[in-house]
Symmetry: C2
Subunit: 118 residues, 2 copies
C-alpha cells in the first residue's frame, strides 16, 4: 500500500506545508483563488489542487462569486489534531523526560485537566 491519501483526514491534509500556508492566508478571511495564488506565489493549478484537498477534508468551503470562487476557512477539522496533540502537551512542557509511567495520567487528562502552558 502507498501512503494514505491526503484527503483521508486533517492530519494528512495539513502535513503539506503549502496547504498550511493556504489555511493561514484564509485565516484572514474569505479569499478568491487569485489572492491565494498571489500570496503563495504558486502556480494557479497547484493552488486549486491544494484547495481541493482542503475542501475534501472540510477545512475550507467555497462560494461562487461571479467568475471567482471565494474560499473560506473552516477550522473545525483541526480540532481533532488539537485534541490529539493536547494529550502530549505536558510531556514536552514539563520535565518528564526521564520518567516512564507518567502517562498513566494521560487518560485521566480526559476528565481532570490541570492546564499547563509552556
Amino acid at each position: 500500500m502507498a501512503r494514505a491519501a491526503t484527503t483521508t483526514d486533517a492530519f494528512n491534509a495539513v502535513a503539506e506545508p503549502r496547504r498550511r500556508q493556504i489555511l493561514e492566508v484564509l485565516a484572514d478571511g474569505e479569499r478568491p483563488v487569485s489572492d491565494i495564488v498571489a500570496s503563495l506565489g504558486l502556480a494557479q493549478p497547484l493552488v486549486s489542487k491544494h484547495l481541493r484537498v482542503l475542501r475534501e477534508v472540510g477545512l475550507v468551503e467555497v462560494r461562487d462569486h461571479g467568475r471567482q470562487r471565494m474560499y473560506r476557512l473552516d477550522a473545525r477539522p483541526l480540532k481533532s489534531i488539537h485534541d490529539w496533540v493536547r494529550n502530549y502537551e505536558r510531556l514536552w512542557s514539563e520535565r518528564f523526560d526521564r520518567l516512564d509511567g507518567v502517562l498513566g495520567e494521560l487518560k485521566a487528562l480526559e476528565d481532570g485537566d490541570d492546564g499547563n502552558d509552556e
Copy 2:
C-alpha cells in the same frame, strides 16, 4: 515531485495512524519493540520502519538493553504541531463559523450573491 518525506517533520510523521498509535503506546513509558508489535498487532518489520521514521523526526529515542531496544517517547516535536493548530483554536471553539467576524470588511465588499457549494 512526490509528497514530502514522512521524515520531514512531525506533521508528516504523525499523519500516519500507526505511528500515532505507537506514540500512544510509548506514552505509557519506555517499551521494547516486541511490546509495540504486540500492542499494535503489526508485523515487526513494519513497526521497526515506523519507529525509524519517528526516530528521524525526534519523536522517539532508543536505548540498547541487551538484545532489546527500548523506545521512549519524546513529545517535544509535537509542540510545533500544537503551536500551529493552536492559532486556529478560536475559529472552531467560538461561533465564527457562519460569521465573518474579523473579516467583516470582506463581506462588505460584496453583497448580493448566492452561496453555492460543490
